[in-house]
C-alpha cells in the first residue's frame, strides 16, 4: 500500500524584500510516498531551502497546499505546526544546530522536553538514540568536543528521537569532508531501510546518488524528477 507522506500542490513562497515581493518558489507540485529517499538538487538560489523549510513546517507558504500525511498544513496555526515539528518530522541542518552548553544526551533528548517526558526517561532515550547513531559512550560530552561528523550524527539522533515518519535534511553533508559524508549517507540509507521517509538537499551528485529519486530545482520550479541515480551529472 502506498501512502503519500508529502503531497504539495501549486506551492509558492514569496519573500518580502526592500525591492518588493520576491518569489523564491513559483508553484511546485510533488508527491513523496512512504519510505522514499529523495535528493533535491539545483543551483544556489533555486529555492531548495525555501522548499525544505515549508516541508519542515518551519515556514508557511504564500500559496498552494501542503498535505503532510494527508493533512493540509498550509494554513495551520503555529502551535499545531510546532507539534508536527516535534512528533512527525525530524529536521537535520547543515550547521548541526546543537545547543553548545548541553551534554549530547540532553541535546538529543531536547525534543522530548516539549513532549512532556520526565528527565530520567528523556536521558535514557537520549542515550539509546546516541547508541543508534554509533555514539554510545559520548552521552556526557559537549558538542564542541566532538568532530563535525559526530555532531551531525548527534543531530540525526535528535531528529530521530520521537520516531518521526519523515526526516528532512538541508545539505546535511555541506560542512563535512567526503569520507565523513559517506558515513552520514550510510546512516541515512540505514534509516531509510527501516522505513523512514528521507528528503535531503545536496549539491553533490555522489551524495544524491544514495537517494533513489532525484528532484531538480531551477529558479523556483521543479525542472526534473528522475528515479535513477544521476552520478554522471556535474555538481552544481
Amino acid at each position: 500500500m502506498s501512502e503519500a507522506v508529502i503531497r504539495v500542490a501549486g506551492l509558492g513562497k514569496s519573500y518580502v524584500t526592500a525591492a518588493g515581493l520576491f518569489p523564491a518558489l513559483k508553484g511546485v507540485d510533488l508527491t513523496i510516498q512512504r519510505s522514499e529517499f529523495v535528493a533535491i538538487m539545483g543551483p544556489s538560489g533555486s529555492g531548495k531551502s525555501t522548499f525544505m523549510n515549508l516541508l519542515g513546517c518551519l515556514d508557511t507558504p504564500s500559496s498552494g497546499d501542503y498535505f503532510l500525511v494527508e493533512r493540509n498544513v498550509a494554513h495551520m496555526p503555529g502551535d499545531e505546526l510546532a507539534i508536527l515539528r516535534n512528533r512527525t518530522i525530524g529536521f537535520v541542518f547543515q550547521g548541526f544546530n546543537l545547543l553548545p552548553r548541553m551534554t549530547l544526551e540532553d541535546n538529543v533528548a531536547l525534543p522530548l522536553v516539549y513532549s512532556g517526558i520526565g528527565r530520567e526517561a528523556r536521558r535514557e532515550k537520549g542515550r539509546q538514540m546516541l547508541a543508534r547513531v554509533g555514539l554510545d559512550g559520548y552521552a556526557l560530552s559537549l558538542p564542541a568536543r566532538i568532530s563535525g561528523g559526530q555532531q551531525q550524527r548527534v543531530a540525526i539522533a535528535r531528529a530521530l528521537i520521537n520516531s518521526p515518519r519523515l526526516i528532512l535534511a538541508d545539505e546535511p553533508t555541506g560542512n563535512l569532508d567526503s569520507h565523513t559524508s559517506e558515513e552520514i549517507m550510510a546512516l541515512f540509507e540505514q534509516l531509510n531501510a527501516e522505513g523512514i521517509t528521507i528528503v535531503l538537499v545536496t549539491h553533490e551528485a555522489d551524495i544524491a546518488a544514495h537517494a533513489r529519486r532525484q528532484v531538480r530545482f531551477l529558479d523556483g520550479f521543479i525542472v526534473s524528477d528522475t528515479a535513477t541515480p544521476v552520478s554522471e551529472l556535474q555538481p552544481c
Binding site: 518551519l58 503555529g78 510546532a82 516535534n86 529536521f91 544546530n97 525534543p111 522536553v113 512532556g116 517526558i117
Partner: protein, 406 residues
C-alpha cells in the same frame, strides 16, 4: 512539563553565573532594603503602640487654665481653676469609669544618705485604675488614706532602683521635704511615655498629703489637673461635651466667656503619634520599593540581552517542537527564578541587617511573617512583570529568522 521547564531555566541560569549573580544583586538589594525598612518601621509602630498601652485607655486630661474674663487675665494671684469637688461632680456623670485629681511636681527624695529627685504625684486611688497601673508588691493606699492625709507612698521602678539599689523598698521610710513617708507598694514598670519621659521615675502619694506636706498649696482642694477615663472609645465625644458643660456650669462661666480649663484627649495624642510612625514606616517602605523597582528593571534589561543572545537557541528549540508558550514559559520562569532567588538572599540579608541593628542600637525591630510573605510575592510579581516583555519577545520570534541569526 513544568519541571522540565524549571530544569531548563536552572540550566540557563548556571550557564552565565556572573550575569545571573549581578542581575540577582538588584533584587537582593531591593528586597533586603524593603525588609529592613519594614522591620524598622514596624518596630517604631510597635514601640509607640507599646507606649500607648501604658498610658491607659480612653483618657482625658483636664488642665486648669487661668481665670480670665473677656480675654483679660486676672493676674497670677489666683490658684488653679479646678478642684477636688469638680472631680467628684464629674465622677457622677454617665460613661465615666474613673476620675482622679492630680497634683504633681518634682521633689527630692531622701533615704538615709541617698537622695534622688523625682516626680511626686499626689492623687486618689482612682489614678491607678485609670492608668491601669498595677503593683508588683505591697498594696495601694485607699480613700481613707486620702481623707486622713496618711504619709504613705507607692514608688516607681526607676526611683526605687536609685534610692534602694537591690533592697526591698516596702516598709522603708523616705523623706520628702522633711516629711517621712512609709513605702507601702512598688509600681509595675511602664517605660517611657510618648514624650520620652520615664514614667517609672515617680512616687505616688495621697493628694491631701501632697498638698499639705509637700507642695503647700495656698488654696486647699484646688488642683491643676484631673484625669478621667471614659467607659469606651465611642463614649469619648459625649463625655467631652458633658464634662465641659458641667465644668462651665460649676465655674459659672457665661456664654461669652472662654473655658477656664483645657480638656485634652490623650487617645487623640496617642493616635497622632501612631499615625506619625505609620506614615514614617510607609515612607521607608516606599523608598525601599523604588530599589525593588530598579532591581526589576535590571532583570528586564538582562532578560532582553539574553533573548537577543540566545536567538539561535530559541530558533533551534522552535525547530524541534517548542510552541510559543513553551518559549514564553521558559524565559518567564528564568526571570521568576532569578527574582525569587534574589528575594531569598535579600530576605536573609534584610533580616540579618535588622537583627544587627537591634543588637548594636536600642531600636525596636519587628520582623513580621506578613512582611516576609509580601516581599516574596512582590519579588515573584516583579519577575513576572519585568520578565514578561522579554519572554514575549522571545516567543514571538520567527523560527526561520531565529535559526538564521548569527
Amino acid at each position: 512539563m513544568l519541571s522540565a521547564m524549571l530544569g531548563e531555566a536552572w540550566h540557563a541560569m548556571g550557564c552565565n553565573r556572573m550575569r545571573t549573580a549581578l542581575t540577582m544583586l538588584g533584587m537582593v538589594i531591593g528586597v533586603g532594603s524593603v525588609v529592613l525598612m519594614l522591620a524598622i518601621g514596624q518596630g517604631a509602630q510597635y514601640a509607640v503602640a507599646q507606649t500607648i498601652s501604658t498610658m491607659g485607655s480612653n483618657l482625658y486630661i483636664l488642665i486648669s487654665g487661668s481665670t480670665s474674663t473677656s480675654g483679660v487675665r486676672t493676674g497670677s494671684g489666683f490658684g488653679p481653676t479646678l478642684n477636688v469637688a469638680d472631680a467628684e461632680a464629674i465622677s457622677e456623670l454617665d460613661d465615666i469609669t474613673h476620675v482622679a485629681p492630680v497634683h504633681q511636681g518634682t521633689q527630692q527624695l531622701v533615704y538615709g544618705a541617698k537622695n534622688w529627685s523625682t516626680t511626686i504625684v499626689g492623687t486618689t486611688p482612682s489614678y491607678l485604675d485609670a492608668r491601669a497601673w498595677t503593683l508588683t508588691s505591697g498594696y495601694a493606699f485607699g480613700e481613707s488614706d486620702v481623707r486622713s492625709a496618711s504619709r504613705v507612698a507607692l514608688i516607681g521602678k526607676t526611683a526605687a532602683e536609685n534610692l534602694f539599689d537591690r533592697e526591698d523598698p516596702i516598709g522603708k521610710t523616705i523623706r520628702i521635704r522633711q516629711t517621712p513617708f512609709v513605702i507601702i507598694g512598688t509600681l509595675a514598670a511602664k517605660g517611657q511615655n510618648l514624650d520620652g519621659r520615664d514614667q517609672d521615675d515617680t512616687v505616688i502619694i495621697p493628694l491631701t498629703t501632697a498638698q499639705r506636706k509637700v507642695f503647700g498649696v495656698p488654696f486647699a482642694g484646688s488642683v491643676r489637673t484631673i484625669i478621667l477615663q471614659a467607659s469606651s472609645a465611642e463614649a469619648m465625644p459625649a463625655v467631652e461635651k458633658s464634662v465641659t458643660a458641667l465644668l462651665r456650669r460649676r465655674h459659672r462661666l457665661r456664654d461669652d466667656m472662654d473655658n477656664d480649663f483645657y480638656i485634652r484627649n490623650l487617645a487623640a495624642a496617642a493616635d497622632s503619634a501612631a499615625e506619625t510612625t505609620r506614615v514614617m514606616s510607609l515612607l521607608l517602605g516606599a523608598i525601599a520599593s523604588v530599589s525593588l523597582l530598579v532591581g526589576g528593571i535590571g532583570i528586564m534589561n538582562i532578560m532582553l540581552v539574553s533573548v537577543t543572545e540566545r536567538t539561535r537557541e530559541i530558533g533551534i528549540r522552535m525547530a524541534i517542537g517548542a510552541r510559543q508558550k513553551d518559549i514564553l514559559t521558559q524565559f518567564l520562569l528564568e526571570a521568576i527564578m532569578i527574582s525569587i532567588a534574589g528575594c531569598l538572599i535579600g530576605l536573609l540579608l534584610g533580616i540579618g541587617g535588622a537583627l544587627l541593628i537591634n543588637a548594636i542600637t536600642d531600636m525596636v525591630i519587628v520582623i513580621s511573617g506578613g512582611a516576609v510573605i509580601v516581599a516574596f510575592a512582590v519579588a515573584a510579581g516583579v519577575g513576572v512583570f519585568f520578565g514578561f516583555y522579554p519572554a514575549r519577545k522571545a516567543a514571538a520570534l520567527d523560527p526561520i529568522e531565529a535559526l538564521r541569526y548569527q
